[in-house]
Amino acid sequence: MLRLRQTGFSYLFLFPSFLLTAVLGLYPIGWAIWYMFFDYKGYGEASFVGLANFERLARDAQYWDSVVNTFVYAGGKLAITIPLSLALAVILNRAFRGRSLLRAVIFLPTIISSAVMAVVFYMLFNSYNGLLNQYLLKLNLIPERIDWLGPDHAMLTTILIAVWGAVGNYMLLFLAGLQNIPQDVYESASIDGANGRQQFWHLTVPMLGPVLQIVIMLAIINSLKGYESIMVLTDGGPIGKTEVMFLYVYKLFFPTPSASFTADQQFGYGSAVGFATAVIVGIVTLLYHLLSRRLNKLQ
């Protein structure tokens, strides 16, 4: 009887979270999984099409291009963000004047809306009257304007902006990790004659291991998912060079101005593409997880 009461209470307390998860999590997923097999424009009748949406997905070159772009974008962002934020964390973990101010300045981009950020960066980077080109020309560093948002450089520009927005956040997580490493380990290493570099590679990095693993996993998911600033900055252009997976999915659900002449929302196909995208992100995350667990065992 007591046990029943206890479990009853447990379920009672779990109920609000379950309700929220069901309404905000399970229902939309179920909705999307259902409509994956339909042709549905958001109005009128939805017609069952079986696996036709997936057949279309298989031959949708634009989508697969966006998958490649996403990996370039995410890879580039990770390759710069992780080392940079770790380095900044190590530097800003030392005691010096102005440390708090610097930490705040580097963290600041994290709390600014990515869409607002993209608008400001557009003013800096656009090649016809952007400030960056004007300064570079004035200082004679470039012979003529560079088309930062053109087909050749747009991806690099979006990666740099993404790095700027993300570094502060990961730096903060690394700082928290660094502060958990006891000082006496470094003291005894110093007594044993280890220099700064040796201390970093043989003490800091291994002891940061668990934090590093989580940070990298978060960074992978975030980079594969991120599209908001790209949408404002380039809307996936020019000629699809910065189209990423989730932006492509978003456009199927809510056609952006660039698609205004075929204004129909494609909920059925959008759901199928969204599902495939979720599977891709899931697989990458899982692979990373398995890899890092294996490395743990090796250690």
Binding site: P28, A32, G42, Y43, D60, L233, F254, S260, L286
Partner: protein
């Protein structure tokens, strides 16, 4: 472990689909901030029509019994007339005997998307500005309320119903105000500086002129030609479209004679555009240029030529006062001869949302907006050239710089509706494919063949689904449009 994987997948899925799920909502809370008080919601328009047949501009309807304000929102994508419409709305709010208050919302860059999102999340406005490329889609999606029942016979006579452009499947959704013509807009100062006497008449001349203008202006950052390629559709469906029409072809790839798609009509145009890119005669950064930043650059004298609608004079009068002398001319054609009339677009302006809880109040505002004085002033102030016969015949000529070149001539006419907006196309769309060719080259014939195959397949599907009617008209004459 398995739960963790599931959790990751669920999180990602949630983010991707939660927006879409909202669309399942009933839209009961259709308008933001309504205080209610108007018992009209849900009544079919016909039952109200009898007591509501004052001519446009009438404010004589019954005052609200409750004394509470009825707040309505009107969303528009027009910015060129923003100051004027703001004044008009203000005076309506001040004088409304029905206690109706209109909130004017102007969104330009992502208007269509904002409307879709608003409907999907149950926050649709009460009144919407509809255009020739949105009214069909929005009527079919059920966003719009038919207004036939509200119209008095007098209004029916005053405002012509234009099938496909304000009357869809026999139901009227909007009334015409102004029409837009499309022209080549050019910087006279830069032309003079480059020693070019007149705007180009052929595509080859356009390419040559752009080169000369760039040579003359590059030192000051001015370039010969520009387009708003942030949206390839918005760019090419105003520029290449009108040149194709003047060449005698449907502007959006459709051939009315055969009732099939034939994008080869775009070939000479896209080749000319590509040549200008290759020559370095186009504004750098044009790939990320939206129409407003483009206009701002033109107003500063940084662009020699571009192609756009007759809303431009209003823009350079109010939004971006032009620092240069400029004019508009008919667009160039392949051989310098005009083989087809160029689009006179329009036939619609305001529409009432099907989800509005205060449709009668919305209609009262709509009637007010279509009042003679407001429409006349609209043309006279140069915001648009009236398409309403009784206004066009009585309103004065617009007193605004640059409008002369946009005035409709015998070479302007309204093309029948092309089915392009109703197609569910698989793969890359024509404007994107052509823009890709302009920037990175390729085999244009193969691109056109691929587009034709995919557009015609989509057309066949749309015909089979009963969404589109496409009958060949071998006698179709692009010079004999109304």
């Amino acid at each position: 472990m398995r739960m963790k994987k599931l959790g990751i997948a669920a999180t990602i899925g949630m983010l991707a689909f939660s927006a879409a799920a909202c669309s399942g909502g009933s839209g009961n809370n259709g308008n933001n901030g309504n205080n209610g008080g108007n018992g009209g919601s849900g009544n079919p328009p016909a039952t109200e029509a009898a007591g509501n047949k004052e001519p446009a501009g009438g404010n004589e309807a019954k005052p609200q019994e409750s004394g509470k304000k009825v707040k309505l929102s009107y969303w528009t994508g027009d910015r060129h007339d923003q100051d004027y419409i703001t004044e008009v709305v203000k005076s309506f709010n001040a004088s409304s005997a029905d206690n109706i208050e209109i909130e004017l919302v102007v969104k330009t860059d992502d208007f269509n998307q904002a409307i879709d999102l608003a409907y999907a999340s149950g926050q649709a406005p009460d009144l919407i500005r509809v255009k020739e490329n949105t009214i069909q889609a929005w009527a079919k999606k059920g966003y719009l309320e038919p207004i036939d029942g509200y119209l008095s016979d007098e209004l029916k006579q005053k405002f012509p119903a234009i099938p496909d452009f304000n009357q869809i499947d026999g139901k009227l959704y909007s009334l015409p105000n102004y029409g837009s013509t499309l022209r080549l807009v050019y910087n006279k100062d830069l032309f003079a500086k480059a020693g070019v006497a007149a705007p180009p008449k052929t595509l080859d001349e356009m390419v040559e002129t752009a080169k000369k203008l760039t040579e003359a202006g590059k030192a000051e950052g001015a370039y010969g030609f520009a387009q708003n390629f942030k949206s390839t559709q918005s760019a090419l469906f105003r520029s290449a479209r009108v040149i194709a029409e003047a060449n005698g072809h449907g502007g959006l790839g459709y051939d009315f004679k055969t009732a099939r798609y034939d994008w080869s009509s775009y070939k000479p145009i896209v080749e000319a555009f590509k040549k200008m890119v290759d020559d370095g005669s186009t504004m750098p950064g044009m790939e990320s240029l939206d129409i407003d930043p483009l206009r701002a650059q033109f107003a500063e004298g940084k662009i020699g030529m571009y192609i756009s609608f007759s809303s431009e004079p209003g823009v350079y009068q109010n939004q971006f006062p032009a620092k240069i002398d400029w004019a508009a001319a008919p667009v160039p054609t392949t051989d310098g001869q005009v083989h087809g009339k160029t689009s006179l677009l329009g036939g619609q302006w305001l529409a009432i949302s099907a989800e509005s809880k205060n449709k009668e109040a919305a209609w009262k505002f709509m009637q007010y907006m279509y009042g003679d004085d407001i429409l006349k002033a609209y043309q006279e102030k140069g915001f648009g050239l009236s398409m309403v016969p009784h206004i066009a015949s009585s309103a004065g000529k617009p007193a605004i710089n640059g409008i002369e070149g946009f005035m409709p001539t015998e070479n302007d006419g309204t093309w029948p509706l092309e089915p392009t907006s109703a197609l569910k196309l698989e793969g890359i769309m024509a404007p994107d494919a052509f823009f890709k060719y302009m920037l990175s080259g390729g085999d244009l014939d193969a691109i056109v063949d691929d587009l034709n195959a995919r557009y015609n397949a989509a057309l066949d599907k749309a015909i089979a689904a009963g969404e589109v009617k496409a009958e060949p008209d071998p006698a179709f004459d692009p010079m004999k449009l109304k």
